[in-house]
Amino acid sequence: MVQDIPSTVELRLPSKLGFEKVAMQTAAGVARLMGFPDERVDDLKTAVAEACINAIEHGNRFDERLSIGIVLSMEDGELEVKILDSGSGPHKKVHAPDIDRKMHGDEEARGMGMFLMQALVDEAEWTQTPLGGGCVRLMIRLDKEEE
């Protein structure tokens, strides 16, 4: 039965800052099609943007010959978004920002991307692709009432 093929959307973007906005729009389009409410769509957009920025900046180091991949898989009210780059993924753990330390210059002002991803979606996980590239896996779920 063809009914069992999971629906997948794939997007490929140049390693240039600004293109994360295209990924935000694409992810929002998919999430809306699945019936996610605006609030969750906003959460996903910011998480996807941060993941793409990291893939462009840290993973592909702005190398314009490389592209980043975004794979969106829809199944059973769950939307999984994988963001793929040609690096080897972060070596740091997710770290919650300490605003007081930042304000006093004891911690860099930056460094909130991974924290925000994890805080905004239902699951965020950093892995590697079988070929050794960097991969972030984000997941949001429809609440029962929304379905």
């Binding site: 240039k16 800052l17 600004g18 994360e20 910011t46 943007a49 909130m112 925000l116």
Partner: protein, 124 residues
């Protein structure tokens, strides 16, 4: 020629008055606030007269704000903090109010409902 994505940051500086008649510098941000916005943001900040102790950040026309942009907002708040200036903010979408609270920024700038509330919120 290859395509350069358009990320455009604007700051417009206005003056308002607090209840006690003292001046308020209103920084109206618009467009994108990202890693490339530093010069524009600090340029706007520098336009406020040095004697002005009260600032309002207007985010209502911001279309796109990412974590590098939020880091620049933190740097603006650091500069204001050092100069003993108070900052009220308004115009953030519910989503970005949540994000500001997640990173703890509401400890250094109150998130107000609108411009009038923001301008009325300074206690001297």
């Amino acid at each position: 020629m290859t395509m350069q994505p358009q990320l455009i940051t604007r700051v417009h500086v206005d003056q308002a008055k607090a209840g006690d008649g003292s001046p308020i510098g209103v920084l109206r941000f618009s467009g994108d606030i990202t890693s490339t916005s530093r010069d524009v943001l600090f340029g706007g900040y520098a336009e406020v007269p040095a004697t002005t102790r009260k600032l309002v950040f207007d985010f209502s026309k911001v279309e796109y704000l990412n974590s590098s942009g939020i880091a620049l907002v933190i740097e603006l708040l650091m500069a204001a903090n050092k100069a003993d200036r108070k900052v009220q903010s308004f115009g953030l979408s519910p989503h970005f109010q949540k994000v500001f609270i997640m990173v703890g920024l509401n400890k250094y700038t109150h998130l107000q409902a609108d411009e009038a509330t923001a301008c009325a919120a300074f206690v001297d």
